[in-house]
Symmetry: C2
Subunit: 310 residues, 2 copies
């Protein structure tokens, strides 16, 4: 089933212990789309400036991603500059320029309207909600957010959470959103805000899926997917968005096969971790651009061996 994703398509300048890259193609919607494109049809809604040209567009098109919803406008694209010199698990932001994103009014192309899945990548919750309202008939809606929106735009974010099937955020954000430092208690508090399921990303330790308890208390056990211990992390930028793309892309492909089951959610967690691990292996989206489905499936098997008793 097709996924429409709204979020940033951007340029990133990144410094890690492995080196530095200037203005490489980035943005949450970019990583998400590339990762999800290995599993299902993906359609992007975003805004870019005059600095986004054919070469960048070609990255999406090479993966069959529909870019008709990427609006081109006067000005410069969203720009982020950050480093991971002290800690590969946490970016230090040096500069954020919203640029064309400051006045973004998401418009949904007619050709996107039959998308069954909707992903609201990390952007202003006001925009997330606007997109959600324009696509009332989707089958499954998932979303991401970040500390900035949790702290300073809580009311708008809470409105978004009410309409989500799955929220994917990291552990720090989960605890901040819940105001609770215990993961299990925080997850329960976040689920009470609306989402039916919560994926908490733990960076190099993987991710945990929490479900809202069914009335009979069944099917509510958490599920933990590992991350692959990596010999070398070149650049963790976009790992979380790539996780979301693998997770949601796999779910969309499962749904197409009529299998949106608890087992499909567990496999989706593994595919999320798989895509996140690939994203870290090169700078920016380089690794995702060169990936094959066979590499993905081989790594899925590796993840199974990493965690399964037999």
């Amino acid at each position: 089933m097709a996924i429409t994703v709204v979020g940033s398509v951007a340029y990133d300048s990144i410094e890690t212990p492995a080196g530095r890259r200037e203005r490489c193609l980035g943005g949450a919607a970019t990583y998400f789309s590339l990762a999800a494109s290995f599993f299902t049809k993906v359609r992007v809604i975003a805004v870019v400036g005059e600095d986004f040209g054919r070469r960048q567009e070609a990255v999406f098109q090479a993966r069959g991603i529909d870019t008709r919803g990427i609006e081109h406008t006067a000005g410069k694209s969203f720009f982020w500059e950050g480093s991971y010199l002290d800690n590969l698990n946490e970016a230090k932001t040096h500069n954020t320029e919203l640029n064309v994103f400051a006045a973004f009014e998401p418009k949904i192309p007619e050709a996107y309207r039959d998308s069954e899945f909707l992903f609201l990548a990390n952007i202003d919750p006001v925009l997330q909600r606007r997109v959600r309202e324009q696509m009332p008939d989707v089958k499954l809606v998932a979303g991401d957010t970040m500390n900035y929106w949790i702290k300073d735009h809580r009311a708008a974010l809470l409105e978004v959470l009410k309409g989500l099937d799955v929220l994917l955020i990291n552990e720090t954000e989960t605890k901040m959103l819940a105001g609770n430092n215990n993961l299990v208690q925080a997850a329960r508090a976040v689920l009470a805000l609306g989402p039916k399921a919560l994926v908490v990303k733990h960076g190099e330790y993987g991710a945990t899926l929490f479900h809202k308890s069914a009335p009979e208390g069944k099917g509510a056990e958490p599920f933990r997917a590992p991350a692959l211990p990596l010999e070398e992390v070149i650049d963790p930028t976009g790992a979380g968005d790539s996780f979301a793309g693998g997770f949601f892309g796999y779910l969309a492909s499962s749904a197409a096969a009529g299998e949106l089951t608890p087992a499909a959610f567990r496999r989706a967690m593994f595919y999320g971790s798989v895509m996140g691990s690939f994203a870290c292996e090169r700078f920016g989206t380089e690794r995702l651009q060169q990936l094959t489905r066979k590499e993905i499936d081989d790594r899925f098997i590796l993840f199974r061996e990493l965690t399964h008793l037999d």
Copy 2:
């Protein structure tokens, strides 16, 4: 097969967000023994002072643990005081009194000599080595250590590592010992120091088993056991030692069945995590004292559900 363990039997004063306990029974060898006793016969070598009486001895005896190697001497038992008020993952030490441990000369009772398994809990590596040398014929030797010995007693520690089959340490200690901040690279460096296998404990994120590569490169894939996301951590003291007890105790029981296989090592990782999770549920050794084998096996099944795709 029987395990002989050498390490501290001590008193701990502990403060956590859940409360405070004064001078409860603790020490690495205590937690290890209690946890391992659910799987196999355990024999302790330690030293205690006049403050260690029948009531403390009874805790070991209730679990069938052989205490003939616990030497009683004039003075006070080892004492540790610490808190976890800011961070449940890391103890803040307020006071350490070696007391009778300062002049400890481990002696191995004749009745312990046929032990097939030896565990060197976290004590001075000079003592660890002395015990190891007195038991040259054991089948499997595992050990633990801590940042203090890694930093200030490196030469003595390196001698111990040469004789170990399995080293169990936490992630920070692994990176410190290797002088390398990448987990995979650090694990390889530590394995080059002697141990055939390395268990890296990640606290609330579980633990990873690394094997020395076989010449043909097979069987060297890491294995990750989860930790159970706990609703409430009452007291993390001894969780790592309880992990070691579950891990090594299960291995000893597998060896008795002639099954010291890679699959047995993976199950041992799960039993380690299971015992570590129980240890956190009450203060000190309270939970381990009240545990049943059925609770352990039920939680093993829960850990499988937490991580397995089907």
